[in-house]
């Protein structure tokens, strides 16, 4: 067997359970100092002056402000409009205004007190409502067919407005970087990140250094979820600026409080729907407006909005669609990448709208979805014709088969209707269902523009070394990549080794984001090692490679590794670099939003069961059944682990996680007050993988890391409605919110 679908222990497993794995804060360099960041206390202010008084600081401490920057004041991402340090104005609370470095962590904090900033507070814009009339950071639109005509001929037009809140990543390892200069002026940065080459680009741009004078190395990454996609670039610049100022290695590691207030979150969103349907529940026209709170700077918001647009119509058939999306600017910390990248917000809204439509027409939640779910050969509103691995209906059917959702939902609806006023204190039971999909890989022409390379070469001991820029933030590419490489070349996992993500060694195979790692980079690895294998066996007519042996048609056998070693010794370095080229049919027109926005999609259906306390309205998820189709699972345990973890993250977002602000300042900037699910808050999560091999991915794999974030929240919201009759239009559905809706009689009875 080739090992695909097996679950070998992850190679970093023992280092992680024994405490030996080295995260950035575990690294200490000789002579290293510590950095700290002076942050704006105001959401919006003019900076009249910044004064540094070294006499008040610990001996030798250094300070860096915008005046000390050697290059442009921009963190290069999509553009460089996000300042490294505030210049003249501060646009959000916790915006970096100045940096200090000192010999110890505490001395660095003390040094912050030696800086005096004279601010002139200005009026801030703090809510989407306030921002809606102002010019947006970014806007996008998409039209297919004639939505007004579709709504005009519909039997019913149903409107709804849905809201989702911030979500903080809470990777258990906070952000951190160490920077140091070598004697020749070359800079090295080591830290926690998803995208070494993003950090590299930001450093060369911001510091005016040539590519070969900047080296970026990823340490063990203690969780990412998108939160280590862009901010590491800024923190790396800060550490490098301090290292430059004090002439020593400098470590900048955020504590939890600083990480919460200072780094990105999921975009809050308002999504408005106007949907035309036939009497029997078929979608005729979707009119969708999306507003997202981008915070103070655009960072990655334009691509988040793009993905939001392309998921807002959901896994449903609809010919006439109009979508308008805007990212609005508020005086809050920039919102940016978070698992799902705009899709969870719009899929929550659409799923809630589907439930509203179903109630209006007297259909159950499964029926409305079955009647509209896409099938292979259907067209999405972008015009993309869906391929054979389009599993929306399969996921629904399997979820129904496993849970008996339809019957249970009806029983609980009837039980609710029978229930008299007042409660007997017994918990209320509810069940909810969602259908969701997620485009795998970069949106649109992203992969085509990037043409990301992967290199494979034969080492001096005959093993194959694969070089990619992907980081393992826990998802497990350290286990999956060797499985793919071994299976693709017919060799043993121990015949192949992987280089550490280090820009001095590895090519720019792109960022570790967008559910692209297994599907895109894994696919490149498979092709690159297969090409190396072909070189090793070239000239041997009819030979094949299996389990690490080259087998000739005459029955001869030779260890692959020995043949590879001989080729290396005879020919010198043997190396293959391949670039990802999307297939020709995969084109996307960014001006009309038509074409194949993604090479393929992953699919899922969730059934969530909850208990609601009738007196406090506290919601407890009891059981989740997640049926997902992500192509073939390379490593079943890790693949299921992505879905389990993503599902719980979705339930946290749906039920309890809430960033509270007042006047632009955080009210709950710590883990005592920003609450994520503990093991006691967590339901049983049963994951069922429907494995449909997708021909475009390595051994049939698609991307799956973000998919589970899309389904948990709408299913939980529907379950709460099923239990209580309270119409859930916004998340998090905290007891306080549910009580408010109950008191204002926002119930499913009048939702239609």
């Amino acid at each position: 067997m080739n090992g695909i679908g097996d679950s070998p222990p992850r190679p970093d497993g023992f280092a992680k359970v024994s405490g030996a794995a080295r995260y950035v804060d575990d690294v200490s360099l000789p002579g290293m100092w510590h950095g700290a960041t002076l942050r704006s206390p105001h959401p919006h202010a003019r900076i009249r002056s910044i004064h540094w008084d070294p006499a008040k600081a610990p001996d030798g401490a250094v300070c860096v402000t915008v005046a000390d920057l050697p290059g442009p004041n921009g963190v290069q991402l999509i553009d460089d409009g996000w300042p490294i340090l505030a210049d003249g104005f501060t646009l959000h609370v916790a915006e970096p205004v100045a940096l200090v470095a000192a010999p110890t962590r505490l001395a660095a904090r003390q040094a912050l007190a030696a800086i005096t900033v004279d601010y002139e507070p200005l009026d801030p814009v703090l809510s989407l409502e306030q921002a809606e009339s102002l010019s947006p950071l970014y806007q996008l639109g998409m039209d297919t067919g004639d939505v007004e005509a579709a709504l005009a001929r519909a039997d019913a037009v149903i409107e709804g407005e849905y809201r989702t809140g911030h979500q903080e990543h809470i990777y258990i390892e906070c952000n951190g970087m160490i920077a140091w200069y070598e004697d020749d002026g070359a800079l090295t940065v080591l830290g926690s990140m998803q995208c070494p080459y993003y950090v590299h680009k930001a450093l060369t741009h911001g510091l005016g250094l040539p590519d070969d004078k900047v080296r970026v190395r990823a340490s063990t990454v203690g969780g990412g979820f998108g939160g280590k996609e862009d901010f590491p670039s800024a923190i790396a610049l800060h550490a490098a600026l301090l290292a430059r100022a004090c002439g020593r290695p400098v470590k900048v590691v955020y504590d939890r409080h600083e990480d919460i207030i200072g780094t990105s979150k999921r975009h809050p969103a308002v999504v408005r729907h106007r949907t035309g349907v036939t009497r029997d529940g078929r979608l005729l026209g979707l009119d969708i407006e999306i507003l997202m709170d981008g915070g103070a700077y655009a960072t990655l918001s334009s691509v988040v909005l793009s993905r939001a647009l392309l998921h807002s119509f959901g896994p449903y058939r609809c010919a006439d669609v109009r979508i308008r999306g805007r990212v609005l600017r508020t005086h809050t910390t920039p919102n940016s990448a978070f698992r799902g990248f705009g899709a969870p917000q719009v899929e929550f809204a659409l799923e809630r709208q589907m439930d509203r439509i179903a109630r209006t027409l007297g259909l159950d939640p499964l029926e409305i979805r079955m009647r509209n779910a896409v099938e292979p050969g259907d067209r999405l509103p972008t015009g993309q014709v869906l391929d054979a691995s389009t599993s929306a209906r399969l996921c629904l059917e399997e979820a129904e088969r496993r849970t008996g959702f339809r019957e249970r939902w009806k029983e609980l609806e009837e039980a609710r209707a029978r229930r008299s006023e007042g409660s007997d204190g017994e918990p209320l039971r509810g069940i909810g269902l969602s259908l969701y999909f997620h485009g795998a890989g970069f949106t649109g022409n992203g992969e085509r523009k990037m043409k990301s390379p992967v290199t494979a070469r034969i080492l001096e001991d005959g093993r194959i070394e694969v070089l990619t820029a992907m980081t393992d933030m826990g998802q497990g590419c350290v286990a999956v990549f060797p499985q793919i490489a071994a299976a693709a070349a017919g060799i043993l996992p121990e015949d192949v080794t992987f280089a550490e993500p280090d820009t001095a060694e590895v090519p720019d195979s792109g960022p570790t984001v967008a559910s692209r790692t297994t599907m895109i980079v894994g696919g490149l690895i498979a092709r690159a090692v297969a090409e190396l294998r072909d070189r090793v066996v070239s000239g041997r007519e009819g030979a094949s490679v299996r389990d690490g042996w080259i087998e000739g048609p005459d029955g001869s056998r030779e260890r692959f590794r020995e043949a590879a070693l001989r080729l290396r010794q005879e020919n010198g370095p043997v190396e293959v670099t391949l670039r990802h080229e999307p297939p020709e049919w995969q084109t996307f027109d960014e001006s009309t939003y038509s074409g194949a926005a993604y090479p393929t999609y992953a699919w899922g259906a969730d059934v969530v069961e909850v208990e609601v306390d009738p007196d406090t309205l506290a919601v407890r998820p009891i059981q989740v059944t997640a049926v997902c189709e992500v192509g073939r699972a390379i490593h079943k345990t890790l693949c299921a682990g992505q879905i389990e973890g993503g599902t719980l993250q979705a339930l946290g977002w749906a039920l309890m996680e809430e960033v509270k602000m007042q006047d632009g300042r955080y009210l709950n900037d710590r883990l005592a007050t920003y609450i994520i699910p503990t093991i006691r808050d967590s339901p049983r999560i049963d994951v069922h993988l429907l494995e449909q091999a997708w021909e475009g991915g390595p051994f049939g794999a698609k991307g799956g890391g973000e998919l589970p974030m899309d389904g948990g929240a709408p299913a939980a919201a529907q379950a709460i409605e099923n239990a209580t009759g309270i119409a859930v239009t916004a998340i998090p559905a905290t007891p306080e919110r549910l009580l408010e809706w109950q008191r204002s009689n926002q119930t499913v009875g009048d939702a239609g």
Binding site: S7, P9, G13, V17, S18, I170, G224, R256, I679, R680
Partner: protein, 170 residues
């Protein structure tokens, strides 16, 4: 933050305790966090800081065999006591937790690993007093350890062989 500067001429004292079976004399301010002493003074970086205020459990160590949050334990409280960190409990491939740890990796109990040392220490204490915990007992014991990656399922699966049949998942 309870972090206290130790070289500022303030109060300093020597605290003697048993760390992973060895006698240690740690110099420092009596209110210095055990977490910092262990990580920075003694170089045992397996113990992680996740929140610095006793909410996440990443810094869990054993104090006289009981799991405690080392970010909340001042150095002076360790005088004459027994401190064990993940390195001693899980650092040896032949240690008593070996089977549990192998299962922990095999069942997907580890993803990013930042919460893992704290969870391993908590499990060591749980299994010491109860070799066959029920699912509910395991959930109770782990209630103070946050994990953001696994949804906790892989962690519970690692304990399944120790769970009674009525607790096993269908």
């Amino acid at each position: 933050m309870a972090e206290v500067e130790s070289d500022r001429g303030g109060c300093r004292m020597t605290t003697s305790f048993l760390l992973n079976g060895q006698s240690i004399e740690a110099e420092g301010h009596p209110m210095e966090r055990l977490l910092d002493v262990v990580r920075e003074q003694l170089g045992l970086t397996g113990t992680k800081e996740g929140c610095g205020e006793g909410e996440c459990g990443a810094c869990t160590v054993l104090l006289d065999g009981e799991p405690v949050l080392s970010c909340l334990v001042p150095l002076f409280q360790c005088e004459g006591r027994r401190v064990e960190t993940v390195e001693a409990l899980a650092g040896r491939p032949d240690g008593p937790l070996r089977e549990t740890l192998e299962r922990f990796v095999a069942t997907g109990g580890v993803q990013c690993g930042a919460c893992t040392p704290g969870i391993v220490v908590t499990l060591a204490a749980l299994l010491e007093r109860n070799a066959t915990p029920s699912r509910e007992e395991a959930r109770e014991a782990l209630a103070g350890n946050l994990c953001r990656c696994t949804g906790y399922e892989g962690i519970l699966r690692a304990l399944l062989p120790a769970l009674g049949p009525e607790d096993s998942k269908a």
